[in-house]
Amino acid sequence: MRKSKIRFLIFLDLVCTILSCNQYRHMQRISSNASCIQKFKPDFSHVVYRTSVDVIGKHISGILVVKHMSDSSTRMVFTNEMGFSYFDFGFPPDSGFKVYQIVPQMNKEGLIRTLRKDFELLLFRNMENSKYYALTDSGLIYHAFPQAEGVNYYITGSNCLQLVKMQRASTKKPVMEAFIYGGSPGIAPDSISMRHFNISHFSITLKQITTPAAQ
């Protein structure tokens, strides 16, 4: 009798935890248009960012080059200040992902998967209209695009005139939040910040720079 009571209490606790952890559960579904956020898609045709990465007390800095290639793919190359390349990622036109090069120290499946998902959110990829739905909360619209794992949210004001932030989420709560600053159609964002919630102190900051011409 006592055992079954304990089991019931554990079950009740688990249910409460699950319900309270779901940060999207209380939001209301609304009808909205997936295409309204396309105007916020950053122009990454050719941009160079000063980049800082902080993860679990470690700091890495360098240069991230993002370039739209002639085959319509997007390449991202991250090097340190002295020119040594950390990674070279390719995002083909519609979907998919290719690691062209990565240093052995960063060649970890989990890290590559995380970076891929982070960059896919920034690049407005995997946005299937057939899976699209929208939620609303506190005057914001959460434009939701379910992914193979989790959901990508593009969060706008109620009239879809301003992109407030972007989130990569599990089915219950955000795992990463990204903000873009500056930029407009045809101009890349001035800066971008990304912050992870499930990995302690994992943040990425990008600030656009102009490199001088070779002499």
Binding site: V48, R50, S52, H59, S61, I63, V65, K67, M69, R75, V77, T79, E81, M82, G83, F84, S85, D88, Y100, Q101, V103, P104, Q105, I209, T210, T211, P212, A213, A214, Q215
Partner: protein, 211 residues
């Protein structure tokens, strides 16, 4: 007969395994160079210079250029201060590496990480002139009218995963490095060119201080 074929094959393989650089010829007897180089670097206590760095991303047809100031003091102290297009300071002092990016400071013990230790040693060896003694590399020396080209091919496994080869261009006039060229396996390369060099300049200790 078998011995002759083997010898010819060996010579053929050797000649074609050594890279060729346009305008340069391979030194068949590098001992003379090594002797002069060792004598010249022995008298160089410090170097102060400007530098220009060019990173070429081959697949992206993209160059990232940066400029800055460089300081070296015998035997193991280097400071590289990037000024354009970003501010970044790197100090190598003894077994420690210090970096500063904006307000963000980072200290790494090169001794705690073998790759850092090796990359650290490459820079110091290239500037300080001890690269020919580095057991992590196999070296070949080429020359043209004004320059020696020291080609370093990694032997150490972890460096082989990072670099195809590293070349150091040495001015025949004063035996100092005028450029370091780092070739990665991906085809990307980084060239650091040293300009306005001042040898044996007075450099304050604080330049190499790691806070």
């Amino acid at each position: 007969m078998f011995k002759s074929i083997s010898l010819v094959s060996f010579l053929f393989c050797f000649l074609f395994s050594v890279a060729q650089y346009q305008g340069y010829t391979l030194l068949n007897h590098p001992e003379t160079f090594k002797k002069s180089f060792t004598q010249a670097t022995a008298t160089t206590e410090s170097i102060k210079s400007d530098f220009k760095q060019e990173k070429s991303l081959s697949m992206l047809s993209e160059n990232i250029n940066s400029t800055g100031k460089f300081w070296y003091r015998k035997n193991d102290k280097i400071r590289m201060e990037y000024i354009q297009p970003y501010s970044y300071i790197m100090i190598l002092n003894g077994g420690k590496i210090f970096t500063k990016e904006g307000q963000k400071e980072n200290k790494i013990s090169a001794n705690s990480n073998k790759v850092f230790q090796q990359v650290n040693r490459i820079l110091i060896d290239c500037v300080g002139g001890s690269m020919l003694d580095n057991p992590d590399f196999q070296s070949h020396i080429f020359e043209n009218s004004g320059t020696y080209l020291v080609e370093l091919i990694p032997i150490a496994k972890n460096l082989k995963e990072l670099y195809k080869n590293i070349n150091i261009l040495i001015d025949k006039k004063d035996y100092t490095a005028t450029a370091i060229e780092m070739f990665e396996l991906s085809g990307d390369k980084t060239i650091i060119r040293f300009q306005n060099k001042v040898l044996n300049a007075q450099i304050k200790d604080s330049v190499f201080n790691i806070p």
